[in-house]
């Protein structure tokens, strides 16, 4: 295993220790891991100090986490024909750096922006023109075929994206999802040289606002590793509680919305209200309903005192029975079950090929949960449930989330019973980051594996900031779930994944 460096979640290593392989050996090594039991955590390019283009792969296999690297030419043989897990990562690299993966079966733009090296655009786009640019949609020919185009502006209060369905009557043959509308340049902004580092947590919290805690944890842990900051045990507990509150609020809100999508209104109304109670609990700790402002490198920005802990304990005790009853109402209504079961199925072998993560992966039989595999914060002090509903349909995804809510409602009081002495930290304007270093952080946010990866140069400035939201893996899962489904099941399938547009678009 000399070609792979084994690393730990959230521990910085020297960039010099990362293997720098020849491309063929790199490709062989990476494919050996990912074609069997391994998955891609990060796969990205960066320009080093000599403007040499480098490729980095962070892989997980079982309990292990590895990194390896190589230099990258302007063209290379694509990984995707050998292993589908790379398909979106390779498209992203092509767009960001103007590098062509030859023989990529689906080489289309990801977010519609110029590459950072001033190279000729791989997709033939003229970026002075507005999106969608040059995007050849997959089409199906035939007299009975019709096409449905939806978005970017959707019917409802929801983020923008474009969906293109190829249908015969009601039945969907193919759904293609084109995103990029939410692209705000988050990675570039985080990398901008010379900017005060105190902007970073604020940007990180807004990568995906519904995952503010998940992304700010990844960010803070990475900065802590590079700046040598230690976080006390109390702050770790508070940060764990915040992540679990985020999970509960989102899962409950979505269970209600799923109920609304099958026209069963009572659970929608109740869960809509109950979700708000959990956002308010986050506000109790953070002063913000999404937890923005709470997690900062080094710990937490506000103290969590006995008074706050009591509010949390009381509210959770108050709401837990009601949540169980509304779940029972939702999951026992046969009108609901008739719509949830056997709808939007992603079988295990497809989920595995695509590398689905989070509840979408677990519902298809991939047990991976970063809270168990790569525990951070206080997750080594709690046990995480593992769900057995693994058909891969809407019902499985909803059931996994119901079980996770149930367990998270127990985890928080367990953690509150521990001693929490967490002094708030003030955020200095600047940290001194370890030079020539590399760190990857992984957390199981409510949608699944969030990961941030930082590389620093010889002065300790950020050379590359790579973000991966779980949606980056899972959007293709949604497209696959629509194969041979009625088009009217799209809202239900979509909500059962509830993926992030801005987390994908960055």
């Amino acid at each position: 295993m000399d070609n792979l460096l084994q690393i730990q979640n959230g521990q910085a290593v020297s960039r010099a220790d990362i293997p720098d392989l020849d491309f063929p050996l790199f490709q062989q090594t990476v494919l050996d891991v990912t074609r069997h039991s391994g998955f891609v955590v990060q796969f990205f390019a960066y320009e080093d100090e000599q403007s040499t283009l480098k490729l980095i792969a962070v892989l997980r296999s079982g309990q292990m986490l590895y990194v390896t690297g190589c230099s990258l030419a302007d063209e290379y043989p694509s990984f995707t024909p050998h292993c589908e897990k790379f398909h979106m990562f390779e498209r992203e690299i092509a767009e960001q750096f103007g590098v062509r993966p030859t023989d990529h079966p689906w080489l289309k733009m990801v977010r519609y922006h110029e590459n950072c090296r001033g190279k000729e655009d791989i997709f033939g786009n003229d970026y002075s023109q507005d999106i969608p640019g040059n995007y050849p949609y997959f089409t199906v020919d035939g007299e009975a075929i019709h096409e449905v185009a939806v978005g970017p502006v959707h019917a409802g209060i929801i983020e923008p994206g474009h969906f293109r369905f190829q249908c015969a009557g009601e039945k969907v043959f193919s759904l293609e999802i084109q995103l990029g509308y939410q692209h705000r340049g988050a990675e570039k902004l985080l990398e901008q040289a010379g900017q005060p580092l105190n902007r970073l947590p604020v940007i990180a919290e807004s990568i995906a606002g519904d995952t503010a805690i998940g992304h700010s944890l990844c960010h803070s842990q990475a900065i802590e590793a590079l700046a040598g900051l230690t976080v006390n045990d109390g702050a770790k507990i508070v940060r764990t509680i915040a992540l679990e509150l985020e999970r509960i609020a989102n899962h409950i809100g979505d269970l209600g919305a799923l109920s609304g999508d099958v026209a069963f209104n009572p659970p929608m109304a109740y869960f809509g209200r109950i979700r708000g109670e959990f956002l308010n609990l986050t506000l109790t700790m953070a002063g913000n309903r999404f937890g923005k402002g709470l997690v900062r490198p080094g710990g937490i920005a506000f103290p969590v005192l006995a008074e706050h802990r009591q509010i949390l304990r009381n509210k959770i005790a108050d709401e837990t029975p009601g949540i169980a009853h509304v779940c029972e109402l939702l999951f026992s209504a046969h009108t609901v079950l008739a719509r949830f079961e056997q709808t939007g199925t992603v079988p295990r072998h497809i989920a595995e090929k695509l590398g689905l993560v989070g509840y979408a992966g677990r519902a298809s039989g991939l047990p991976y949960d970063a809270r168990i595999t790569f525990p951070t914060e206080a997750y080594n002090q709690v046990t995480i449930n593992n769900n057995k509903k693994t058909v891969g349909d809407v019902f499985s995804r909803a059931s996994v989330r119901r079980e996770e809510v149930k367990r998270s409602l127990q985890i928080i009081p367990e953690l509150l019973a521990k001693e929490i002495n967490a002094e708030p930290v003030a955020v200095p304007a600047s940290y001194s980051l370890a030079p020539d270093s590399f760190v990857v952080t992984i957390n199981e946010a409510w949608r699944g594996e969030v990961s941030h990866c930082l590389l620093t140069d010889k002065d300790g400035s950020i050379l590359r900031y790579k973000i991966k939201d779980p949606s980056f893996h899972n959007w293709t899962g949604l497209a696959m779930s629509l194969r041979n489904q009625g088009i009217s099941d799209f809202p239900l399938c979509n909500k059962s994944f509830n993926l992030s547009y801005c987390g994908f678009d960055l």
Binding site: R111, Y112, H113, D130, I131, P152, V153, G156, I157, I158, E159, P160, Y181, Q182, H183, R184, G185, A186, K188, L189, Q195, P196, N198, R199, P201, I203, E205, S206, A208, G209, D210, A212, G253, P266, A269, Y270, G272, R273, G276, L283, T284, G287, N288, R289, F290, K292, G293, A301, F302, H325, V326, L329, S332, P424, A426, V427, S500, Y501, C502, D505
Partner: protein
């Protein structure tokens, strides 16, 4: 059926009596900030420099709540000597200039365009556009439809088509890739129409200020009638602003 009724009994009636009765948010909520005019200038400058959003103007001793994300760092770092955040959620304003504040805002109801009140006071239909938003503004706008807030009881609703709308409610810093969609949605709304900028993103770029991939200021594209600051605005901030401005 029985379990539907049992759950209904258990859940009870949860809609807030607001605005008939005032509502108090939990003390830690960071609402309208006060900039203490007597603060030592050196300390003020130090805290202003530490502000991630560069929202504090030490010369005028005001804070731009159209830029501020309410992260609270200025209050922490000055130990409350420069800035303190109140739990007053009434942050809506009808002009960009009003958002540069030392602790008071003009009464919104009096600065509303009066013809909007007669046109939309009894029925206001809005088309929401997320233009680079991080989904927290969107989510906390969506909750206005839940039983606690029950926005529809005021005759206000979010609709699917701009053709059915009286105006647009925009979130996000207007990513370049959403600029065309924002403009064509605006065009599709029949006049007279209102434009609402929600959250610090469409007001100033929010956390993404300085990015070359965003427009960052909705008012530079189309005239904004109502500003609702926050990151994201608390649902009560949005509710208060809509009621004051249109009712």
């Amino acid at each position: 059926m029985l379990s539907v009724i049992q759950n209904r009994r258990e859940q009870g009636y949860r809609t807030t009596p607001y605005p008939k009765e005032p509502i108090n948010l939990y003390s830690r909520y960071r609402g309208l900030p006060t900039v203490h005019q007597d603060c030592d200038k050196a300390l003020a400058r130090q805290c202003a420099e530490a502000c991630p959003q560069q929202a504090i103007d030490v010369e005028r001793m005001v804070i731009d709540i159209g830029r501020c994300t309410f992260c609270g760092q200025c209050e922490i770092q000055s130990q409350g000597k420069l800035v303190t955040f109140s739990n007053n959620f009434e942050l809506g304003a009808s002009s960009r200039e009003a958002l540069f504040t030392s602790g008071t805002l003009p009464a919104l109801a009096e600065h509303s365009k009066q013809h909007f009140k007669s046109l939309f006071g009894r029925s206001l239909q809005l088309r929401q556009i997320s233009a680079g938003g991080c989904n927290s503004c969107e989510a906390d706008t969506n909750v206005l439809g839940t039983p606690f807030f029950d926005l529809q009881r005021f005759g206000i609703d979010f609709v699917a088509s701009p053709r059915h709308a009286d105006g647009i409610h925009v979130t996000g810093p207007i990513s370049n890739n959403m600029k065309a969609a924002v403009l064509s949605t605006y065009e599709a709304v029949p006049a007279p129409k209102v434009v609402i900028a929600s959250g610090c993103c469409p007001i100033s770029g929010g956390p993404f200020w300085g990015s070359k991939d965003i427009v960052g200021d909705l008012n530079s594209l189309i005239p904004v009638d109502l500003y609702i600051p926050g990151c994201p605005p608390h649902p009560m901030t949005t509710l208060h602003a809509l009621l004051q401005f249109f009712k």
